[in-house]
């Protein structure tokens, strides 16, 4: 069984995000980029499926500009067997990405597809769900446990009220939540070996997908600066302020 795992290049989570002066977008100039942390969890899960003998091959795929190959190399260094880069300089929306991934699924026929539940840049949380709709594959989103049992999979999902356990018919699409696993570090010898693993580049045209813009980005602004708080003298004053000023109770 093949596992397909998706990898997105995003701003490193440690970087303080800046907005461009003209408010057109986030400033990516000279900014450190990294693999989306939820994708790291996805890659780790895929590798564990291979290590446990459940999967035979792990394929990492990324959609975006040429620089995405850096994140694909990271996935290869972590243990993926080969990589597919779908090169596009366009502003991609989730639906375009899902359509491209659906084509890759058609070609590769994986038993399990693992995505991050969201990317920390745009926080859309929809590519996995869209991919499920496009392919007709069952979905287990916000997974904190994925257990493949032959022709079915048991996924434990993190939902608002706690944990939900669902059973899915294979093949499946899963999206990762934070507690699914703790990603490993790529060892340096594996980083050196990663350059010899295959990385295939495809274009949206080759996959027969035309990139369409469904939304238009109007402006990007920095969050309002948090104002300094005040000190209250007593609990009574606090309750009074919560009731009458903040009007939250």
């Amino acid at each position: 069984m093949k596992v397909l795992v998706t990898v997105k290049r995003v701003i490193d989570y440690n970087v303080k995000v800046r907005v461009k002066a003209d408010g057109s977008d986030v400033d990516l100039n000279n900014v450190k980029m990294a693999m989306n942390p939820f994708c790291e969890i996805a890659v780790e899960e895929a590798i564990r499926l291979k290590e446990s003998g459940t999967a035979t091959e792990v394929i990492a795929v990324s959609v975006g500009p040429k620089a995405c190959q850096e994140q694909l190399r990271t996935a290869l260094a972590l243990g993926a067997d080969r990589a597919i880069h779908i090169e596009s300089e366009a502003q991609l929306e989730s639906l375009n990405v899902a359509k491209l991934l659906a084509k890759v699924i058609e070609q590769e026929q994986p038993g399990v597809v693992i995505l991050g539940k969201q990317a920390i840049d745009t926080d859309n949380n929809q590519t996995g769900q869209m991919l499920s709709a496009l392919t007709g594959m069952a979905q287990g989103t916000f997974a904190s446990k994925i257990d493949i049992q032959g022709d079915k999979a048991v996924v434990i999902r993190e939902v608002d009220g706690g944990l939900q356990t669902i059973e899915l018919a294979m093949p499946i699409i899963a999206t990762t939540d934070l507690r699914l696993n703790e990603p490993r570090y790529a060892s340096l010898p594996n980083i050196m070996k990663a350059k010899r693993k295959p990385l295939e580049v495809k274009t949206p045209e080759e996959l027969g997908v035309s990139i369409k813009a469904h939304t238009k980005l109007l402006s990007v602004g920095a969050p309002a600066e948090r104002k300094a708080g005040i000190k209250v003298a007593s609990v009574a004053e606090l309750v009074d302020k919560l009731k009458n000023e903040a009007k939250v109770i």
């Binding site: 850096e70 010898p189 050196m192």
Partner: protein
């Protein structure tokens, strides 16, 4: 000319940065204040398992075979978080490299996999003595062949990692009749060998988690084949291998200074005095501009020396220039960074005073700045005379 890093070098740098941030940074202050030997050793082990202890060692000996540029990049990233860890890593890599370049096949098989895999917590480099610091050729430790054994006698001073190193590269005089610096040979001695003892740990200004001890040899008997490299050629080995180590120490200094300046830069955007953030004061802006410019120049010198080394070119002058410049400018940058924090820079709750203490030794060990200038000028004059 292309000054960009290869994809592997970038990935190694990123990995080192990530490891440093997650595993080392949270522990660095504690290691400095109260120490925690087991946590320190656990991190060394993790670093070895990830391939950081044999960056420039061939894969057949379980090394990473990533080259000197990757070594420099990795040391800088590790040093940003914990200088004590970085120096252990630098010296251990250097010990591995000496073994790889001059040892016999059997010695390589015996020791390199243990150093690279973390079976040995560290390697030790025993050159300095109480009367042989900048002038190591003046060493008194002796090795005399008695039947099938070498008998070592003497004392080595300031040996990094002596308490937990698995193997020691030891220099000793093997022929007293030869001219100074000629009759010295190099030996491999295992931890726990009878006749070798580790003196008490020195109390230090910085890099406290890394232990520094005297190593004493009293009728220490080692097998004849513990000799590494050619008899009486040991001093040349020391001189050659220290050049590589200097790239490590320069890179380490750079890492500490970048951590200090990055901390201070962020601080100037938050701290307000006279009704504005202090980053608005031009006097401070210029301090920052100068420090970052000098650190960038240091980085380029280090990269150039490392690149020469990994391409097999002569690099000793360049390594000395890089170590001299990087360690001096890093010392200044740490003091500049501390100044930018004002009184808070002097307080232990902030990392600046630790950076300033940790960086201080970088212009002293593996050849002081004065000795680097001796080496550089000697090379320069040799070129024209």
């Amino acid at each position: 000319m292309d000054l960009s890093l290869s994809q592997e070098q970038q990935l190694i740098q990123q990995m080192a940065a990530k490891f440093a941030r997650t595993e080392l940074e949270p522990l660095a202050q504690k290691l400095d204040h109260s120490g925690d030997r087991s946590a320190f050793l656990a991190n060394l082990k993790k670093l070895a398992e990830l391939g950081f202890m044999g960056l420039n060692i061939d894969a057949q000996y379980q090394g990473t075979e990533a080259g000197s540029v990757a070594f420099s990049l990795a040391i800088t990233e590790i040093a940003r978080a914990c200088a004590a860890t970085a120096v252990t890593m630098s010296v251990t890599n250097m010990v591995g490299e000496v073994i790889q370049s001059v040892a016999s096949n059997a010695q390589k098989q015996q020791y390199l996999p243990k150093l690279c895999s973390g079976e040995y917590a560290a390697g030790a480099f025993c050159l300095t003595e109480s009367s042989a610091g900048s002038d190591p050729a003046n060493m008194k430790t002796s090795a005399v062949l008695e039947g099938e054994n070498w008998i070592l006698n003497g004392a080595k001073q300031f040996i990094s990692s002596a308490e937990y190193a698995g193997v020691f590269v030891v220099w000793a005089v093997t022929d007293t009749s030869m001219a100074k610096g000629k009759g010295i040979s190099c030996f491999l001695v295992e931890q726990g060998t009878a006749g070798m003892s580790i003196g008490k740990a020195e109390q230090k200004m910085g890099q406290k988690a890394s232990v520094t001890n005297e190593v004493l040899f009293d009728q220490c008997r080692i097998p004849q084949d513990a000799l590494m490299g050619e008899l009486n050629q040991g001093f040349k080995i020391a001189v050659t291998e220290l050049a590589g180590g200097r790239i490590g120490i320069g890179s380490l200094a750079l890492g500490i200074a970048l951590a200090a300046m990055d901390y201070a830069r962020n601080y100037t955007l938050e701290r307000k005095q006279f009704g504005q953030v202090i980053a608005k004061f031009q006097g401070l802006q210029w301090m920052m501009a100068d420090a970052y410019t000098e650190l960038e120049a240091a980085r380029l010198l280090l990269m150039s020396a490392a690149d020469k080394k990994q391409r097999g070119l002569a690099f000793s002058k360049e390594a000395s220039m890089a170590k001299l410049y990087a360690s001096e400018k890093a010392n200044q940058a740490c003091y500049t960074a501390l100044q930018l924090l004002g009184g808070y820079g002097y307080i232990s709750e902030y990392p600046l005073e630790r950076y300033a203490r940790d960086v201080r030794i970088t212009s002293i060990y593996e050849g002081s700045s004065e000795i680097q200038r001796v080496i550089i000028s000697r090379e320069l004059l040799k070129e024209v005379s």
